[in-house]
């Protein structure tokens, strides 16, 4: 039984190349402290996120998922972050349907210059997931890989 | 015995009709009470037919009571609940029991009623039903068969003078006339000027038009109808009158307004009569008639 202090959440962070990843990079160069709980996955645009990616992340054992894109109105691909926002909302509803807390998933917007915002967001998400505890779906990574179908796309 | 409705329509007098709504159940006390209250005060009395898609004791049953009590009934037939076989069969039955007036309606849609999962039949529409009445009068049914004994009806339909847009509604009106409608009871009107404009079109045809009068009981009701009921427009001026009525006098104001409208329609010979719909307040209809003089 993991106590809250022992629990090291696994948080998958889908970051868009132009803004969120830039902010993550900057946070690194600025030597800002933030928890090492996140696993960053770079997307060309937050709009390329699919509901399926989010759900698979949870299925494979993520305790939390965040999707980070450009500030609204400044998306490099114009509307990508609006699509992302809608899909995150939809994925939240689906999480609720299977009995997972909606708060495990969140969308954030930031500009590439906002290193501190990135760090803060990671801290916030980590705190939140620690509060919620490990995902009820958690299982050893080895098993989950063998049960996963090879992607067809 | 009441005078046959067709006779009254053609007599040149200002015609007054009203309606009773049957109960949801077999307890007919109130229905019979309303029938007795109104049958001698009006030229003919409609019985509504599952109005607003709410299941009720049928119009045909109510009409039989009116007949028994010496009144002149108008059978309302909607196309929502019966297919062409049942509609024709009901016409035969009604005629055999001395009911000779019918109002042909399409009927409200199912979702607005209280049996929201029911099948809405709509085998015929109101225009086709009118044609069917006339066809049966010539001794044939819709299947092309000869009838052993025909029917004869004074048939009418409804029209919404304040529909927006009004042109499609006018096309429908003309089709109903062509299909055999002799009289029309309109949807509730509140604006006499608008109604006069409609009557300019209606007067081109040899049909009788009875203006629909719905009693206002409160400003809230007026606003509700403006928002929710298609084809009803209560002018601001009338809403104001309802609003500024003394506490507890709203109903009186409504009665006064209705009475005033009827008097104006009669005195200016704008149309051939009125159809008073008191929707649940049938007991108040005599007061409206009194207010109209």
């Amino acid at each position: 039984m993991t106590s809250k202090d022992d629990f090291e959440p696994v948080i998958v962070a889908f970051c868009c190349h132009y803004c969120a990843y830039g902010a993550a990079d900057l946070a690194g160069s600025m030597r800002l402290q933030y928890p090492s709980t996140i696993r960053v996955i770079k997307l060309p645009c937050s709009g390329t996120i699919d509901v399926l990616h989010i759900l698979r992340a949870f299925e494979l054992g993520a305790d939390g998922v965040m999707v980070a894109g450009c500030l609204e109105g400044t998306c490099h691909f114009m509307e990508g972050n609006y699509h992302a926002k809608r899909r995150v909302e939809r994925a939240k509803r689906m999480l609720a349907e299977v009995g997972l807390e909606k708060e495990r998933l969140e969308m954030f917007n930031m500009s590439a210059a906002e290193g501190p915002v990135f760090a803060e967001v990671v801290r916030e998400m980590t705190e939140r997931i620690k509060e919620l505890g490990p995902s009820p779906l958690k299982r050893p990574l080895k098993n989950s890989v063998s049960q996963r179908r090879p992607g067809r796309r | 015995m009441a005078r046959p409705f067709r006779e009254v329509l053609n007599s040149g007098k200002f015609v007054v009709t009203s309606e009773v709504g049957p109960p949801k159940g077999s307890n007919l006390e109130e229905l019979i009470h309303h029938i007795d209250l109104l049958k001698d005060r009006v030229d003919a009395l409609n019985v509504t037919d599952n109005q607003s898609s709410v299941m009720r004791y049928p119009s045909l049953g109510g009409c039989l009571f009116i007949k028994e009590h010496g009144g002149e009934p108008i059978l309302q037939m909607t196309c929502r609940d019966r297919n062409r076989l049942a509609l024709q069969a009901d016409l035969l039955f009604a005629y055999s029991r001395g009911i000779t007036n019918v109002l042909c309606l399409t009927g409200d849609s199912i979702p607005v009623g209280d049996h929201k999962e029911a099948k809405g039949v709509f085998d015929l529409d109101s225009v086709q039903l009118l044609k069917t009445v006339r066809l049966m009068e010539e001794g044939k049914d819709l299947g092309g068969n000869d009838l052993a004994g025909g029917i004869r009806f004074c048939a009418g339909a409804i029209v919404t003078p304040e529909a927006n847009p009004v042109e499609p509604q006018l096309i429908k009106f003309e089709k109903k006339v062509a299909a055999g409608a002799e009289f029309f009871q309109t949807q509730a009107i509140y604006d006499i000027d608008n109604f006069k404009r409609f009557m300019e079109v209606a007067r081109r045809f040899d049909v009788k038009v009875l203006a629909g009068i719905v009693l206002l009981v409160s400003a809230g009701m007026a606003r509700y109808m403006n928002r929710n009921v298609p084809g009803i427009f209560v002018p601001d001026q009338l809403i104001e009158e309802m609003v500024s009525a003394e506490k507890g006098k709203a109903l009186e104001t409504g009665i006064r307004i209705a009475g005033h409208m009827i008097r104006q329609l009669k005195e200016e010979a704008i149309c051939d009569g009125v159809h008073i719909m008191a929707i649940g307040r049938e007991s108040v209809v005599p007061d409206i008639l009194a207010a109209a003089g």
């Binding site: 699919d50 509901v51 399926l52 759900l55 698979r56 949870f58 299925e59 689906m94 349907e97 299977v98 009995g99 997972l100 009820p136 779906l137 299982r139 179908r149 067809r152 | 929502r80 062409r84 399409t106 009927g107 409200d108 849609s109 979702p111 607005v112 809405g120 709509f122 085998d123 015929l124 529409d125 109101s126 225009v127 086709q128 044609k131 819709l142 409804i158 029209v159 919404t160 529909a163 927006n164 847009p165 042109e167 499609p168 509604q169 096309i171 429908k172 003309e174 089709k175 062509a178 299909a179 949807q187 298609p230 084809g231």
Partner: protein, 216 residues
């Protein structure tokens, strides 16, 4: 094309009670376009079902496959292999597809994951609207291409009814009154006499159900 909508997850889970190895079968034609039962939707549903199965402590397994069309036997051939170790198929095709797969594998429960709703078109992104009721007696030449049978809630041939409100239907203020649309279209084309013409009662037996067509 045929438009369908996925059943709620709860309803699907109830249907799957008692089965252990379920194949979720998608269809690559109509239901892919209306975002209800294509390959993507199969993947999403499979993931959701696995997740909720895990939450419930169950041991159902779900396999995924999508074929070009479930309503055509030639595309069902490849399923012979896929259904070998499966005790139920959850088909995301329209009713025709579900039925044909069920006919092809009569010993296997084939369950519908969608509610098939109507023949329609994509009106705008993500929004599909009904356009045809397959009445078997098309009168679109008389109504300017707008079908009153499918798009008028009462299916009136001599419309509109008294419930039309500012060009919208009494049943749903977001839905257009088909007869108002027909009026506007015919007026635009100078063909209003088609609306003035009396239309006799519809032949409801133009297609005697269940329908059958033999191509010569």
């Amino acid at each position: 094309m045929i438009i369908g909508k996925q059943k709620p997850l709860e309803e699907i889970r109830e249907m799957l009670e008692g089965y252990k190895r379920v194949l979720i079968l998608g269809c690559g034609t109509c239901v892919t376009v209306c975002l209800a039962g294509g390959e993507k939707e199969v993947a999403i549903l499979a993931t959701l079902l696995r997740m909720s199965e895990k939450m419930a402590g169950g041991d159902k397994t779900f396999s995924e496959h999508t074929i070009q069309r479930q309503c055509d036997n030639e595309f069902l051939d490849e399923l012979e292999e896929k259904v070998k170790d499966v005790d139920a198929v959850l088909s995301l095709a329209c009713g025709a597809g579900v039925g044909l797969v069920a006919e092809r594998f009569p010993d296997l429960p084939v369950l519908p994951g969608l509610n098939t709703t109507f023949i329609g078109i994509p009106q705008e992104r993500g929004v599909f609207t009904e356009r045809c009721l397959s009445c078997g007696d098309c009168i679109l030449d008389e109504t300017g291409g707008i079908c009153p049978v499918a798009r008028c809630t009462k299916g009136l041939l001599n419309g509109p009814c008294g419930g039309t409100n500012n060009g919208k239907c009494e049943v749903d203020p977001e839905k257009d009154c088909a007869w108002t649309l027909i009026y506007q279209r015919l007026e635009r084309q100078g063909k209003l006499e088609r609306m003035r013409a009396y239309r006799p009662p519809r032949n409801f037996q133009a297609v005697v159900r269940p329908g059958k067509v033999v191509a010569e």
